[in-house]
């Protein structure tokens, strides 16, 4: 029997998702036993031209990581959708925009101005900006068009499954691959319902976190570098903003186990419309002070609400971006 076809693509992201696939260790041999790689720029030498030549639905499983940041990302996303039977938004960037989604506080021109004109460590006396088209003796060169608004994969194409995480945890990837391989061998029946979030656990990150949780009352916020947190007590109760209560479980609470607050990469739990708004409401509700004015002052002392509560989810949030 011929092997199933596997593709993986890296759009607007750091590449950590690509590495996380190798983190499944010897399981990668099982992937090799069941799949032929037909497109995976980071690992094998295939060109867009090759993918364009495939029949529609030729790829059995496509893991797409990264947000849609420019016209090239969007082109490849649409191309891979057409050529893939099962397409998974893999990792936080594809699912909710991820860290690059924070670029939605600015627009493309503001970003270019900062990078090529205003950056203090910059040496660009002629004020050269990258051009999307440039003619050289050999012909015309092109760069992709940078978008004003970072989009998630689901805002761009029809996505079969969403797998959050920055990056997705190895044991979750292994479990998902098991399900997909079993389903492909037996036919489509065993796959979860289309649109499902996969590679996660029920409830929230707090449910997996082993720290002792009592009543939450905070009189000031602290950051992790300002003190040495107690190893047993809930980080939120110690005044550290930990996204655990508003984050889907699935990672095994690895960050809080080693004393770092949850940053929310696994996204909103089931049924939550906007992760950041939920966490903001939670944090402000547990502020403990005698008068409304003092409560207001403490709550408003959170330094960067967008970067704190929407670190991974701005592009997928209700408002999606700052006003242009």
């Amino acid at each position: 029997m011929s092997k199933f076809k596997f593709a993986m693509y890296w759009a607007g992201s750091c590449g950590g998702c690509e590495i996380s696939v190798l983190e499944i260790e010897e399981k990668i041999l099982e992937v090799d036993a069941n799949f032929d790689v037909v497109f995976w720029p980071v690992a094998a030498d295939f060109k867009y031209k090759d993918v364009e030549g495939y029949d529609d639905g030729f790829i059995d499983l496509c893991l797409f990581n990264g947000c849609i940041r420019n016209s090239e990302n969007e082109y490849v996303a649409k191309l891979l959708r057409q050529k893939s039977k099962v397409l998974v938004a893999f990792g936080s960037c594809a699912t909710t925009g991820g860290i690059p989604g924070l670029a939605n506080v600015a627009n493309a021109q503001e970003i270019k101005d900062l990078v090529y004109r205003d950056n203090p460590s910059l040496d660009n006396p002629d004020g050269v900006y990258p051009q999307e088209r440039y003619t050289v003796p050999e012909g015309e060169l092109e760069l992709p068009h940078l978008y004003d608004t970072v989009k998630t994969l689901g805002q761009t194409i029809d996505v079969d499954y969403f797998m959050p995480g920055c990056p997705p945890e190895a044991h979750q990837i292994a479990a998902v691959l098991d399900v997909v391989i079993a389903a492909l061998k037996k036919g489509k029946g065993a796959l979860p319902a289309k649109g499902a979030t996969i590679g996660v656990a029920p409830k929230t990150c707090c449910d997996e976190c082993k720290r002792v949780k009592e009543e939450k009352k905070i009189s000031s916020f602290r950051r992790i570098w300002e003190f040495i947190p107690d190893v047993e007590q809930c980080l939120l109760e110690q005044g550290v903003i930990c996204m655990g209560p508003a984050t889907q479980a699935g990672c095994g609470a690895r960050c809080t186990t080693v004393g770092m607050p949850c940053r929310g990469c696994y996204g909103a739990p089931e049924g939550v419309l906007d992760q950041g708004a939920k966490m903001l409401s939670t944090v402000a509700s547990i502020v403990d002070a005698p008068t409304p004015a003092e409560i207001a002052e403490i709550a408003a002392s959170v330094p960067d609400p967008v970067g704190t509560f929407y670190r991974f989810g701005l592009a997928d949030s209700l408002l999606r971006r700052a006003r242009v």
């Binding site: 939920k278 402000a284 409304p292 709550a299 408002l319 242009v324």
Partner: protein, 153 residues
């Protein structure tokens, strides 16, 4: 017909104080602009930041949250939560480029029909001066621009 901008406002009113304040404004025949759609909530503390953002996203030009005066909450301390949540939400909205004043928090008791009418009047005029928010209008299909550029080049 005047063609001045008529703001679309959402008001989340707590059922114990502010909603009754609105009722009193009505039964007292006080006049105030009809721009605000009132939504009754059990407590101002029930109004999650999600409600506020969703209202703005779906076309509201401004959102009012009104609840019992501190100390008068039917649920003892629900409005203390609102007191913390509101300024943090305001700070978030400021980072996202909204003008100060698009969202507003007021304590209105069941006896303050006149205050309710005054707040809605002021708020309507302030938002009218700020102009439409039109949150949805800033999202466009940027992939189409690339095609157009290529054609015009």
């Amino acid at each position: 017909m005047s063609d001045q901008f008529e703001p679309r406002l959402i008001g989340f009113l707590c059922r114990w104080c502010s909603y009754n304040g609105a009722d009193l404004a009505g039964t007292s025949r006080l006049k105030y602009p009809p721009n605000m759609v009132p939504i009754k909530t059990n407590c101002s503390g029930r109004v999650d930041a999600t409600h506020l953002l969703k209202a703005l996203k779906e076309g509201a030009d401004g959102v009012l949250i009104a609840g019992c005066h501190p100390g008068d909450c039917h649920y003892v301390n629900g409005n203390y939560r609102t007191a913390g949540r509101f300024p943090l939400t305001e700070k978030l909205l400021e980072q996202l480029g909204l003008e100060h004043g698009r969202v507003r928090l007021e304590w209105v008791s069941a006896a303050e029909g006149d205050k309710f009418a005054r707040v809605v009047t002021e708020f309507t005029e302030e938002i009218r001066a700020l102009g439409p928010l039109g949150w949805g209008a800033q999202f466009r299909d940027e992939s189409a621009e690339v095609v157009e550029e290529a054609v015009s080049a």
